[in-house]
Protein backbone atom coordinates (compact mmCIF):
# COMPACT_ATOMS: atom_id res chain seq x y z
CA UNK A 1 0.00 0.00 0.00
CA UNK A 2 1.32 3.44 -0.90
CA UNK A 3 2.01 5.58 2.18
CA UNK A 4 -0.52 8.38 2.60
CA UNK A 5 0.50 12.00 2.95
CA UNK A 6 -1.38 12.33 6.23
CA UNK A 7 0.11 11.62 9.65
CA UNK A 8 -3.41 10.95 10.92
CA UNK A 9 -6.42 10.28 8.69
CA UNK A 10 -9.85 9.72 10.21
CA UNK A 11 -12.98 8.95 8.25
CA UNK A 12 -16.57 8.37 9.34
CA UNK A 13 -15.66 7.95 12.98
CA UNK A 14 -18.57 7.20 15.30
CA UNK A 15 -18.59 6.87 19.06
CA UNK A 16 -21.55 6.72 21.41
CA UNK A 17 -21.94 6.28 25.14
CA UNK A 18 -25.40 4.77 25.50
CA UNK A 19 -27.83 7.19 23.89
CA UNK A 20 -25.25 9.97 23.81
CA UNK A 21 -23.78 10.10 20.27
CA UNK A 22 -20.51 11.92 20.83
CA UNK A 23 -18.92 11.55 17.38
CA UNK A 24 -20.98 11.19 14.19
CA UNK A 25 -19.18 10.43 10.94
CA UNK A 26 -16.26 12.59 12.01
CA UNK A 27 -13.54 13.15 9.38
CA UNK A 28 -10.17 14.83 9.70
CA UNK A 29 -6.58 14.61 8.53
CA UNK A 30 -3.32 15.85 9.97
CA UNK A 31 -0.53 16.83 7.60
CA UNK A 32 3.18 16.35 8.39
CA UNK A 33 4.47 19.18 10.56
CA UNK A 34 0.99 20.62 11.07
CA UNK A 35 -0.44 21.91 14.35
CA UNK A 36 -4.14 21.15 14.20
CA UNK A 37 -6.47 22.48 16.89
CA UNK A 38 -9.81 20.84 17.68
CA UNK A 39 -12.20 23.44 19.03
CA UNK A 40 -15.52 22.53 20.60
CA UNK A 41 -17.77 23.06 23.58
CA UNK A 42 -17.29 21.11 26.80
CA UNK A 43 -18.69 17.62 26.37
CA UNK A 44 -18.57 17.83 22.57
CA UNK A 45 -16.26 14.81 22.33
CA UNK A 46 -12.85 16.43 21.81
CA UNK A 47 -11.08 14.34 24.45
CA UNK A 48 -12.93 11.22 23.27
CA UNK A 49 -11.59 11.90 19.78
CA UNK A 50 -7.92 11.99 20.78
CA UNK A 51 -8.39 9.01 23.08
CA UNK A 52 -9.77 7.13 20.06
CA UNK A 53 -6.68 8.17 18.07
CA UNK A 54 -4.38 6.55 20.62
CA UNK A 55 -6.84 3.70 21.24
CA UNK A 56 -7.46 4.43 24.89
CA UNK A 57 -11.11 4.27 23.80
CA UNK A 58 -12.34 1.97 21.02
CA UNK A 59 -14.41 3.67 18.34
CA UNK A 60 -17.79 2.16 17.43
CA UNK A 61 -17.11 2.45 13.68
CA UNK A 62 -14.96 4.34 11.21
CA UNK A 63 -11.31 4.29 10.13
CA UNK A 64 -8.38 5.77 11.99
CA UNK A 65 -5.02 5.67 10.22
CA UNK A 66 -2.07 6.79 12.33
CA UNK A 67 1.36 6.93 10.67
CA UNK A 68 -0.02 4.65 7.93
CA UNK A 69 -1.31 2.05 10.42
CA UNK A 70 -4.99 1.16 10.67
CA UNK A 71 -5.27 1.09 14.45
CA UNK A 72 -8.57 -0.80 14.44
CA UNK A 73 -6.69 -3.82 13.06
CA UNK A 74 -3.84 -3.68 15.59
CA UNK A 75 -3.54 -5.88 18.68
CA UNK A 76 -2.24 -4.68 22.05
CA UNK A 77 1.44 -5.41 21.34
CA UNK A 78 1.38 -3.75 17.92
CA UNK A 79 -0.39 -0.74 19.38
CA UNK A 80 2.17 -0.49 22.18
CA UNK A 81 4.94 -0.30 19.57
CA UNK A 82 3.09 2.37 17.58
CA UNK A 83 2.59 4.40 20.76
CA UNK A 84 6.36 4.98 20.80
CA UNK A 85 5.77 7.46 17.98
CA UNK A 86 2.73 9.11 19.58
CA UNK A 87 3.09 11.48 22.52
CA UNK A 88 0.08 12.28 24.69
CA UNK A 89 -0.09 15.21 27.09
CA UNK A 90 -2.94 14.67 29.55
CA UNK A 91 -5.07 17.52 30.80
CA UNK A 92 -4.37 16.37 34.38
CA UNK A 93 -0.64 15.84 33.53
CA UNK A 94 -0.95 12.26 34.88
CA UNK A 95 2.51 12.32 36.46
CA UNK A 96 3.24 9.21 38.54
CA UNK A 97 3.08 10.77 41.99
CA UNK A 98 5.06 8.01 43.72
CA UNK A 99 8.04 8.53 41.36
CA UNK A 100 10.62 11.30 41.06
CA UNK A 101 10.79 13.46 37.95
CA UNK A 102 13.67 11.31 36.69
CA UNK A 103 11.68 8.09 37.19
CA UNK A 104 8.65 9.66 35.51
CA UNK A 105 10.72 10.46 32.44
CA UNK A 106 12.49 7.10 32.41
CA UNK A 107 9.22 5.15 32.65
CA UNK A 108 8.34 5.20 28.89
CA UNK A 109 11.89 3.98 28.10
CA UNK A 110 11.29 0.68 29.95
CA UNK A 111 9.13 -0.65 27.16
CA UNK A 112 10.88 0.75 24.13
CA UNK A 113 14.58 0.69 24.99
CA UNK A 114 16.79 -2.28 25.83
CA UNK A 115 18.41 -2.52 29.26
CA UNK A 116 21.78 -1.62 27.72
CA UNK A 117 20.28 1.44 26.02
CA UNK A 118 18.67 2.55 29.26
CA UNK A 119 21.90 2.16 31.20
CA UNK A 120 23.97 4.08 28.68
CA UNK A 121 21.59 6.68 27.25
CA UNK A 122 18.69 7.26 29.66
CA UNK A 123 20.46 9.93 31.71
CA UNK A 124 21.29 11.94 28.59
CA UNK A 125 17.74 11.58 27.22
CA UNK A 126 16.17 12.64 30.53
CA UNK A 127 18.39 15.71 30.81
CA UNK A 128 17.79 16.68 27.18
CA UNK A 129 14.01 16.49 27.62
CA UNK A 130 14.20 18.47 30.86
CA UNK A 131 16.40 21.11 29.24
CA UNK A 132 13.86 21.42 26.42
CA UNK A 133 11.24 22.43 28.98
CA UNK A 134 13.70 24.48 31.08
CA UNK A 135 13.45 22.36 34.23
CA UNK A 136 16.69 20.39 34.45
CA UNK A 137 17.08 21.35 38.13
CA UNK A 138 13.92 19.39 39.10
CA UNK A 139 15.28 15.98 38.10
CA UNK A 140 15.29 14.56 41.65
CA UNK A 141 12.11 16.27 42.86
CA UNK A 142 8.73 14.65 43.42
CA UNK A 143 5.70 15.86 41.41
CA UNK A 144 4.03 17.09 44.62
CA UNK A 145 6.91 19.58 45.09
CA UNK A 146 6.23 21.26 41.72
CA UNK A 147 3.84 24.06 40.76
CA UNK A 148 1.01 23.49 38.26
CA UNK A 149 3.00 25.02 35.39
CA UNK A 150 6.11 23.00 36.26
CA UNK A 151 4.08 19.78 36.36
CA UNK A 152 2.70 20.56 32.91
CA UNK A 153 6.25 21.08 31.61
CA UNK A 154 7.45 17.82 33.19
CA UNK A 155 4.50 15.99 31.64
CA UNK A 156 5.51 17.52 28.31
CA UNK A 157 9.12 16.42 28.86
CA UNK A 158 7.90 12.87 29.51
CA UNK A 159 5.93 13.05 26.27
CA UNK A 160 9.07 14.14 24.40
CA UNK A 161 11.50 11.59 25.77
CA UNK A 162 10.78 9.06 23.01
CA UNK A 163 10.92 11.80 20.34
CA UNK A 164 7.39 11.18 19.03
CA UNK A 165 6.37 11.92 15.45
CA UNK A 166 2.95 13.14 16.54
CA UNK A 167 1.90 14.75 19.82
CA UNK A 168 -1.68 14.84 21.13
CA UNK A 169 -2.34 17.67 23.59
CA UNK A 170 -5.48 17.45 25.76
CA UNK A 171 -6.24 21.02 26.89
CA UNK A 172 -2.60 21.92 27.60
CA UNK A 173 -3.26 25.33 29.15
CA UNK A 174 -6.43 24.63 31.14
CA UNK A 175 -6.11 25.60 34.79
CA UNK A 176 -2.97 27.66 34.30
CA UNK A 177 -2.60 31.41 34.85
CA UNK A 178 -2.35 33.53 31.63
CA UNK A 179 1.42 33.99 31.88
CA UNK A 180 2.14 30.29 32.40
CA UNK A 181 -0.41 29.39 29.71
CA UNK A 182 1.46 31.64 27.28
CA UNK A 183 4.78 30.03 28.25
CA UNK A 184 3.32 26.56 27.61
CA UNK A 185 2.01 27.70 24.20
CA UNK A 186 5.47 29.09 23.31
CA UNK A 187 7.02 25.84 24.47
CA UNK A 188 4.69 23.85 22.21
CA UNK A 189 5.78 25.95 19.23
CA UNK A 190 9.48 25.55 20.01
CA UNK A 191 9.04 21.80 20.47
CA UNK A 192 7.24 21.53 17.16
CA UNK A 193 10.16 23.30 15.48
CA UNK A 194 12.84 21.21 17.18
CA UNK A 195 11.22 17.77 16.87
CA UNK A 196 9.38 18.45 13.58
CA UNK A 197 6.41 16.68 15.19
CA UNK A 198 2.83 17.09 14.05
CA UNK A 199 0.30 17.96 16.74
CA UNK A 200 -3.38 17.64 17.50
CA UNK A 201 -4.32 20.16 20.16
CA UNK A 202 -7.58 20.14 22.10
CA UNK A 203 -8.11 23.58 23.56
CA UNK A 204 -10.58 26.24 24.64
CA UNK A 205 -7.87 28.82 25.20
CA UNK A 206 -8.12 31.31 22.32
CA UNK A 207 -4.62 32.70 22.95
CA UNK A 208 -3.17 29.20 22.81
CA UNK A 209 -5.15 28.43 19.66
CA UNK A 210 -4.08 31.68 17.98
CA UNK A 211 -0.42 31.10 18.85
CA UNK A 212 -0.10 27.41 18.04
CA UNK A 213 -2.57 26.52 15.29
CA UNK A 214 -1.93 26.12 11.59
CA UNK A 215 -5.52 24.99 11.17
CA UNK A 216 -8.58 24.75 13.42
CA UNK A 217 -11.41 22.21 13.25
CA UNK A 218 -14.69 23.13 14.95
CA UNK A 219 -16.26 20.03 16.45
CA UNK A 220 -19.99 20.69 16.55
CA UNK A 221 -22.68 18.06 17.11
CA UNK A 222 -20.06 15.34 16.75
CA UNK A 223 -19.01 16.42 13.26
CA UNK A 224 -16.15 18.30 11.64
CA UNK A 225 -18.28 21.39 11.09
CA UNK A 226 -15.70 23.78 9.64
CA UNK A 227 -11.95 23.50 9.21
CA UNK A 228 -9.96 26.62 8.47
CA UNK A 229 -7.19 28.84 9.75
CA UNK A 230 -7.75 30.75 12.99
CA UNK A 231 -7.83 34.07 11.12
CA UNK A 232 -10.47 32.88 8.66
CA UNK A 233 -12.60 31.32 11.36
CA UNK A 234 -12.61 34.63 13.22
CA UNK A 235 -14.24 36.20 10.18
CA UNK A 236 -16.73 33.36 9.76
CA UNK A 237 -20.31 34.59 10.16
CA UNK A 238 -21.93 31.20 10.86
CA UNK A 239 -23.49 31.64 14.33
CA UNK A 240 -22.31 28.19 15.48
CA UNK A 241 -18.73 29.15 14.63
CA UNK A 242 -18.74 32.80 15.59
CA UNK A 243 -19.93 32.06 19.14
CA UNK A 244 -16.47 30.60 19.88
CA UNK A 245 -14.84 33.93 19.00
CA UNK A 246 -17.09 36.37 20.87
Amino acid sequence: MEPSKSIIAISKLNKSFGENHVLRDFDMSLAPGENLVILGKSGSGKSVLIKCIIKLIDADSGDIMVLDHDISMMDQDEMDLLRKDIGFLFQSNALYDSMTVRENLEFPLRRHWTKEQRESQAEEAVMEALEDVGLSHTVNMMPAELSGGMRKRIALARTLILKPKVILYDEPTTGLDPITAREISELMISIQKKYKASSVIISHDMNCIRMTSNRVITLIEGRNYVADTYENLMKNTDPKVSEFFR
Binding site: K51, I54, L56, F90, A94, Y96, P108, R158
Partner: protein, 254 residues
Protein backbone atom coordinates in the same frame (compact mmCIF):
# COMPACT_ATOMS: atom_id res chain seq x y z
CA UNK B 1 -28.31 10.39 44.45
CA UNK B 2 -27.79 8.16 41.45
CA UNK B 3 -26.90 4.61 42.44
CA UNK B 4 -23.43 3.60 41.25
CA UNK B 5 -23.26 0.10 42.73
CA UNK B 6 -23.56 -2.77 40.28
CA UNK B 7 -26.00 -5.63 40.85
CA UNK B 8 -24.38 -8.43 42.89
CA UNK B 9 -24.13 -11.02 40.11
CA UNK B 10 -22.82 -8.46 37.61
CA UNK B 11 -20.08 -7.60 40.09
CA UNK B 12 -19.25 -11.28 40.64
CA UNK B 13 -19.07 -11.78 36.86
CA UNK B 14 -16.79 -8.77 36.46
CA UNK B 15 -14.46 -10.01 39.20
CA UNK B 16 -14.37 -13.44 37.49
CA UNK B 17 -13.46 -11.78 34.16
CA UNK B 18 -10.81 -9.69 35.92
CA UNK B 19 -9.38 -12.88 37.46
CA UNK B 20 -9.42 -14.55 34.03
CA UNK B 21 -7.47 -11.62 32.61
CA UNK B 22 -4.94 -11.99 35.44
CA UNK B 23 -4.24 -15.59 34.44
CA UNK B 24 -4.01 -14.58 30.77
CA UNK B 25 -1.59 -11.71 31.44
CA UNK B 26 0.63 -13.64 33.85
CA UNK B 27 1.63 -16.07 31.10
CA UNK B 28 2.61 -13.32 28.65
CA UNK B 29 6.31 -12.45 28.36
CA UNK B 30 8.06 -9.48 29.92
CA UNK B 31 7.65 -10.10 33.63
CA UNK B 32 7.85 -7.10 35.93
CA UNK B 33 10.25 -8.62 38.49
CA UNK B 34 11.46 -5.31 39.90
CA UNK B 35 7.93 -4.10 40.65
CA UNK B 36 7.03 -7.52 42.07
CA UNK B 37 9.94 -7.35 44.56
CA UNK B 38 8.97 -3.78 45.40
CA UNK B 39 5.39 -4.89 46.11
CA UNK B 40 6.59 -7.84 48.23
CA UNK B 41 8.48 -5.30 50.34
CA UNK B 42 5.45 -3.01 50.73
CA UNK B 43 2.90 -5.77 51.25
CA UNK B 44 5.05 -8.15 53.30
CA UNK B 45 7.70 -6.25 55.21
CA UNK B 46 5.57 -3.16 55.82
CA UNK B 47 2.74 -5.29 57.28
CA UNK B 48 4.98 -7.37 59.51
CA UNK B 49 4.89 -5.09 62.58
CA UNK B 50 1.09 -4.87 62.60
CA UNK B 51 0.68 -8.61 62.05
CA UNK B 52 3.26 -9.57 64.67
CA UNK B 53 1.80 -7.31 67.41
CA UNK B 54 -1.69 -8.61 66.70
CA UNK B 55 -0.49 -12.23 66.66
CA UNK B 56 1.33 -11.84 69.97
CA UNK B 57 -1.74 -10.32 71.66
CA UNK B 58 -3.97 -12.97 70.08
CA UNK B 59 -1.89 -15.85 71.52
CA UNK B 60 -1.69 -14.19 74.93
CA UNK B 61 -5.40 -13.38 75.17
CA UNK B 62 -6.53 -16.78 73.89
CA UNK B 63 -4.43 -18.51 76.57
CA UNK B 64 -5.59 -16.25 79.37
CA UNK B 65 -9.26 -16.63 78.43
CA UNK B 66 -9.10 -20.39 77.88
CA UNK B 67 -7.44 -21.18 81.22
CA UNK B 68 -10.54 -20.80 83.52
CA UNK B 69 -12.65 -23.19 81.43
CA UNK B 70 -9.91 -25.83 81.24
CA UNK B 71 -9.23 -25.37 84.96
CA UNK B 72 -12.89 -26.11 85.68
CA UNK B 73 -12.50 -29.50 84.02
CA UNK B 74 -9.08 -30.14 85.54
CA UNK B 75 -7.53 -30.04 82.09
CA UNK B 76 -5.13 -27.11 82.55
CA UNK B 77 -2.29 -29.24 81.24
CA UNK B 78 -4.02 -29.31 77.84
CA UNK B 79 -3.71 -25.53 77.53
CA UNK B 80 -0.58 -25.50 75.27
CA UNK B 81 -2.07 -28.16 72.99
CA UNK B 82 -5.45 -26.45 72.70
CA UNK B 83 -3.94 -23.03 72.09
CA UNK B 84 -1.48 -24.26 69.45
CA UNK B 85 -4.10 -26.24 67.51
CA UNK B 86 -6.51 -23.27 67.53
CA UNK B 87 -3.81 -20.83 66.46
CA UNK B 88 -2.32 -22.99 63.72
CA UNK B 89 -5.52 -24.29 62.17
CA UNK B 90 -7.75 -21.27 62.29
CA UNK B 91 -7.07 -18.18 64.33
CA UNK B 92 -3.68 -17.05 63.05
CA UNK B 93 -4.37 -17.58 59.32
CA UNK B 94 -7.80 -15.95 59.45
CA UNK B 95 -6.84 -13.00 61.67
CA UNK B 96 -3.71 -12.39 59.55
CA UNK B 97 -5.82 -12.50 56.40
CA UNK B 98 -8.34 -10.07 57.89
CA UNK B 99 -5.56 -7.67 58.88
CA UNK B 100 -4.15 -7.96 55.36
CA UNK B 101 -7.62 -7.43 53.87
CA UNK B 102 -7.79 -4.18 55.82
CA UNK B 103 -4.27 -2.97 55.23
CA UNK B 104 -3.34 -4.40 51.84
CA UNK B 105 -6.83 -4.46 50.31
CA UNK B 106 -7.56 -0.85 51.17
CA UNK B 107 -4.03 0.24 50.27
CA UNK B 108 -4.15 -1.32 46.82
CA UNK B 109 -7.75 -0.15 46.24
CA UNK B 110 -6.91 3.44 47.14
CA UNK B 111 -3.59 3.49 45.26
CA UNK B 112 -4.93 2.08 42.00
CA UNK B 113 -8.17 4.06 42.36
CA UNK B 114 -6.22 7.27 42.71
CA UNK B 115 -4.06 6.34 39.72
CA UNK B 116 -7.19 5.62 37.67
CA UNK B 117 -8.96 8.91 38.41
CA UNK B 118 -5.80 10.98 37.84
CA UNK B 119 -5.24 9.23 34.47
CA UNK B 120 -1.91 7.71 35.59
CA UNK B 121 -3.06 4.27 34.40
CA UNK B 122 -3.95 5.76 30.99
CA UNK B 123 -0.53 7.44 30.94
CA UNK B 124 1.11 4.04 31.44
CA UNK B 125 -0.92 2.61 28.59
CA UNK B 126 -0.02 5.38 26.15
CA UNK B 127 3.65 4.98 27.05
CA UNK B 128 3.43 1.39 25.80
CA UNK B 129 3.51 -0.28 29.23
CA UNK B 130 0.78 -2.79 29.97
CA UNK B 131 -0.72 -1.30 33.17
CA UNK B 132 -2.56 -4.50 34.06
CA UNK B 133 0.67 -6.43 34.05
CA UNK B 134 2.68 -3.73 35.80
CA UNK B 135 0.12 -2.83 38.48
CA UNK B 136 -2.27 -5.75 38.92
CA UNK B 137 -0.22 -8.89 38.23
CA UNK B 138 2.65 -7.75 40.46
CA UNK B 139 0.37 -6.80 43.37
CA UNK B 140 -1.73 -9.97 43.22
CA UNK B 141 1.40 -12.14 43.02
CA UNK B 142 3.03 -10.29 45.92
CA UNK B 143 -0.13 -10.59 48.02
CA UNK B 144 -0.46 -14.31 47.20
CA UNK B 145 3.12 -14.92 48.31
CA UNK B 146 3.31 -12.58 51.30
CA UNK B 147 0.07 -13.46 53.14
CA UNK B 148 1.24 -17.09 53.74
CA UNK B 149 4.63 -15.77 54.90
CA UNK B 150 2.96 -13.32 57.29
CA UNK B 151 0.55 -16.01 58.48
CA UNK B 152 3.42 -18.44 59.21
CA UNK B 153 5.24 -15.76 61.19
CA UNK B 154 1.99 -14.90 62.98
CA UNK B 155 1.60 -18.57 64.01
CA UNK B 156 5.10 -18.61 65.52
CA UNK B 157 4.61 -15.30 67.34
CA UNK B 158 1.14 -16.17 68.64
CA UNK B 159 2.39 -19.50 70.02
CA UNK B 160 5.09 -17.54 71.83
CA UNK B 161 2.37 -15.19 73.13
CA UNK B 162 0.55 -18.30 74.38
CA UNK B 163 3.68 -19.37 76.27
CA UNK B 164 3.77 -16.04 78.12
CA UNK B 165 0.03 -16.35 78.80
CA UNK B 166 0.48 -19.81 80.34
CA UNK B 167 3.25 -18.48 82.57
CA UNK B 168 1.29 -15.50 83.83
CA UNK B 169 -0.63 -17.71 86.25
CA UNK B 170 1.46 -20.83 86.22
CA UNK B 171 4.93 -22.09 85.63
CA UNK B 172 5.70 -24.08 82.50
CA UNK B 173 9.18 -24.33 81.08
CA UNK B 174 9.74 -23.31 77.46
CA UNK B 175 10.77 -26.84 76.46
CA UNK B 176 7.69 -28.43 78.08
CA UNK B 177 5.37 -25.83 76.52
CA UNK B 178 7.02 -26.33 73.14
CA UNK B 179 6.78 -30.14 73.42
CA UNK B 180 3.10 -30.06 74.44
CA UNK B 181 2.20 -27.48 71.81
CA UNK B 182 3.82 -29.32 68.92
CA UNK B 183 2.99 -32.81 70.12
CA UNK B 184 -0.67 -31.99 69.48
CA UNK B 185 0.02 -30.80 65.94
CA UNK B 186 0.38 -32.82 62.73
CA UNK B 187 1.04 -32.06 59.08
CA UNK B 188 -2.74 -32.24 58.65
CA UNK B 189 -2.92 -29.08 60.75
CA UNK B 190 -0.09 -27.17 59.08
CA UNK B 191 -0.53 -27.96 55.40
CA UNK B 192 -4.22 -27.04 54.93
CA UNK B 193 -3.63 -23.93 57.03
CA UNK B 194 -0.73 -22.91 54.78
CA UNK B 195 -2.56 -23.71 51.54
CA UNK B 196 -5.62 -21.67 52.43
CA UNK B 197 -3.48 -18.60 53.14
CA UNK B 198 -2.31 -18.62 49.50
CA UNK B 199 -5.97 -18.40 48.49
CA UNK B 200 -6.59 -15.67 51.07
CA UNK B 201 -3.66 -13.66 49.68
CA UNK B 202 -4.81 -14.17 46.11
CA UNK B 203 -8.38 -13.14 46.96
CA UNK B 204 -7.25 -10.03 48.83
CA UNK B 205 -4.97 -9.00 45.96
CA UNK B 206 -7.57 -9.59 43.25
CA UNK B 207 -10.35 -7.75 45.08
CA UNK B 208 -8.13 -4.79 45.99
CA UNK B 209 -6.83 -4.51 42.43
CA UNK B 210 -10.28 -4.98 40.86
CA UNK B 211 -11.84 -2.26 42.99
CA UNK B 212 -8.98 0.19 42.44
CA UNK B 213 -8.41 -0.53 38.75
CA UNK B 214 -12.09 0.00 37.94
CA UNK B 215 -12.52 3.03 40.16
CA UNK B 216 -14.79 5.80 38.86
CA UNK B 217 -16.39 9.04 39.98
CA UNK B 218 -13.29 11.00 41.06
CA UNK B 219 -12.15 11.23 44.66
CA UNK B 220 -15.46 9.85 45.94
CA UNK B 221 -14.80 6.76 43.84
CA UNK B 222 -11.32 6.33 45.36
CA UNK B 223 -12.82 6.29 48.87
CA UNK B 224 -15.49 3.84 47.80
CA UNK B 225 -12.89 1.61 46.13
CA UNK B 226 -10.81 1.42 49.30
CA UNK B 227 -13.81 0.79 51.54
CA UNK B 228 -15.49 -1.81 49.35
CA UNK B 229 -12.14 -3.55 48.77
CA UNK B 230 -11.86 -4.13 52.53
CA UNK B 231 -15.48 -5.28 52.88
CA UNK B 232 -15.42 -7.66 49.91
CA UNK B 233 -11.93 -9.01 50.71
CA UNK B 234 -12.89 -9.67 54.36
CA UNK B 235 -16.07 -11.45 53.31
CA UNK B 236 -14.10 -13.44 50.75
CA UNK B 237 -11.65 -14.57 53.47
CA UNK B 238 -14.53 -16.07 55.47
CA UNK B 239 -16.06 -17.71 52.39
CA UNK B 240 -12.70 -19.21 51.39
CA UNK B 241 -12.17 -20.34 54.97
CA UNK B 242 -15.54 -22.09 54.95
CA UNK B 243 -14.66 -23.84 51.69
CA UNK B 244 -11.22 -24.78 53.05
CA UNK B 245 -12.77 -26.33 56.17
CA UNK B 246 -15.19 -28.37 54.07
CA UNK B 247 -12.43 -29.56 51.74
CA UNK B 248 -10.15 -30.43 54.69
CA UNK B 249 -13.02 -32.32 56.30
CA UNK B 250 -13.76 -34.23 53.09
CA UNK B 251 -10.09 -35.19 52.79
CA UNK B 252 -10.13 -36.46 56.36
CA UNK B 253 -7.51 -34.04 57.60
CA UNK B 254 -9.52 -32.75 60.57
Amino acid sequence: MKAIDKPFFTEVGDIARFTGRFFKEITKPRQEYEEFINQCFWIGYKSFTLVSITAFIMGLVLTIQSRPTLLEFGAESLLPSMVSVSLVREISPVITALICAGKIGSGIGAELGSMRVTEQIDAMEVSGTNPFKYLVVTRVMASTLMVPVLSSLAIAISIYGGYLGVNMKGSVSWSLYWFQAFDALSYGDFIPSLIKTFFFGFGIGIVGCYKGYNSKKGTEGVGRSATTAVIVASLLVFILDLIAVQVTDLLGLT
